[in-house]
């Protein structure tokens, strides 16, 4: 499996996850979390260049899947057998279905736009715009247009390409611990990953974080599903208190 994967083809982690569910022909109500999280991570590792700002979203999902996998491995608490036990995957299933609903809705909208399904057409308002027209002038759009033209202009200039060296996970682990010490033992996931400049570095940072969690040197806390995660430095066995 040495081929490169184009992560860009998936417009987000939910899309990739749905793809993997289809690909494995598994039931959405009985997701094999261990298998999917493994494949999900494999995709991230094998993916080609990808927009950095979106990589963070994929990593949030990856950490959620790993967390879910861990919960699935825990034995059911004794004495609670009579109560209907909640499947830890239920929230994910609902999220996936909700997402799939809008993905399908988007396809229906495209069909409407292209006239593949019956639609109406409005009149041609451009034909009659006379003296009553006002220009839609928004300063934000003006600034954006200026930035775009300058960027285009810059692209034409020859640019230096710095070769990328590989990222060492152990170095990254030290780096995370150092940052946590500087930040009094607590940093947000997003803030931590905002430091990374390159995709390989992001992935290295993420693997380093996983290793630190495994070694129980840091703890990760997520307040809500897909919400930001706080990384906390552990002192002995106690979590450092926030704030």
């Amino acid at each position: 499996m040495g081929y490169m994967v184009d992560l860009e083809a998936f417009h987000g982690p939910m899309d990739l996850l749905l793809y993997l569910i289809d690909e494995n022909q598994v039931d959405i109500y009985d997701i094999p979390v261990a298998l999917l999280s493994e494949q999900f991570m494999a995709y991230l590792e094998r993916s080609g260049e990808y927009q950095l700002d979106m990589m963070g979203d994929f990593l949030v999902m990856a950490s959620y899947l790993l967390h879910l996998k861990a919960r699935m491995l825990l034995p059911a608490a004794p004495g609670l057998e009579e109560e209907a036990e909640e499947d830890p995957r239920e929230e994910l299933v609902q999220k996936l279905q909700q997402y799939r609903k809008y993905k399908e809705a988007a396809e229906q909208l495209v069909n409407l736009q292209m006239g593949k399904t019956k639609r109406v057409f409005f009149g041609n308002r451009d034909a009659f715009a006379g003296e009553n027209e006002v220009l839609h002038a928004e300063l934000r759009l003006l600034v954006k247009a200026y930035q775009a033209v300058l960027e285009r202009f810059e692209e034409e200039e020859p640019q230096m390409h710095i070769p990328q060296e590989d990222v060492n996970v152990h170095e990254k682990m030290d780096e995370i611990l150092q940052v946590l010490n500087e930040k009094e033992g607590s940093i947000s996931f997003v803030e931590l990953f905002a430091r990374a400049v390159r995709r390989r570095e992001l992935l290295g940072l993420f693997l380093a974080l996983l290793e630190l969690v495994r070694q129980q040197k840091v703890a990760a806390r997520q307040e809500e599903t897909f919400g930001d995660i706080r990384i906390l430095l552990r002192v002995g066995n106690e979590d450092v208190d926030e704030g």
């Binding site: 609903k101 809008y102 909208l109 759009l141």
Partner: protein, 184 residues
């Protein structure tokens, strides 16, 4: 004061030239006819268009009137319009669909469903005039809420939001989850 037929003809002319949804209040002002009278007259006009199976129709929704083509003729018109259609990226379409069905909706709600940061794609849709900021939600932080625009209806050929294609209800799905859990 105008005759009934003249009012109809004038309303036709106004709706035609505007080429978008015209609020009934505005029509009252332009035609100088009392609201109640106008409502009755417009109801007749809408029916006349429907009876004769013309190529055009007048649709009343949300206190606005819209003159647009009848859906039966969408094949001819789609063929004709092909060259001017611009496609949105899948990410933009997905976000737009979400807003269309859930509106009004905040950015946080959009991001929680999509699982990705959506500020760029929202700006793109705002720039295209397909969505607009429709006030603030009355919760902590008063986040902006987004809604679709007339331009959205125009591009996707909808006479109103009630014409959005029906989606499979997720209620059915929730029931399925519960049943399955019981079986396990």
């Amino acid at each position: 004061m105008l005759m009934r037929d003249e009012i109809k003809a004038a309303a036709e002319a106004v709706l035609f030239v505007r080429g978008e949804q015209v609020p009934i209040d505005e029509l009252v002002e332009i035609l100088d006819v009392p609201l109640l009278d106008l409502k009755g007259i417009m109801q007749e006009l809408v029916m006349e268009y429907n009876e004769k199976k013309r190529g055009l129709q007048i649709v009343f929704e949300d206190y606005t009137y819209l003159m647009c083509s009848r859906a039966e003729y969408s094949d001819f018109l789609a063929r004709m319009n092909k060259t001017v259609q611009r496609r949105l990226s899948p990410a933009a379409m997905e976000t737009l669909a979400l807003i269309a069905y859930q509106q009004p909706v905040t950015r946080t709600e959009i991001e929680s469903i999509r699982g990705v940061k959506s500020d760029k794609v929202l700006n793109h849709l705002l720039d295209k005039g397909l969505i607009c900021e429709a006030g603030h939600k009355a919760v902590l932080g008063k986040p902006l809420i987004y809604a679709t625009t007339q331009e959205f209806l125009r591009i996707f050929g909808l006479a109103g939001l009630k014409d959005l294609p029906r989606l499979e209800e997720d209620k059915k799905n929730v029931r399925q989850i519960n049943r399955r859990r019981d079986n396990d």
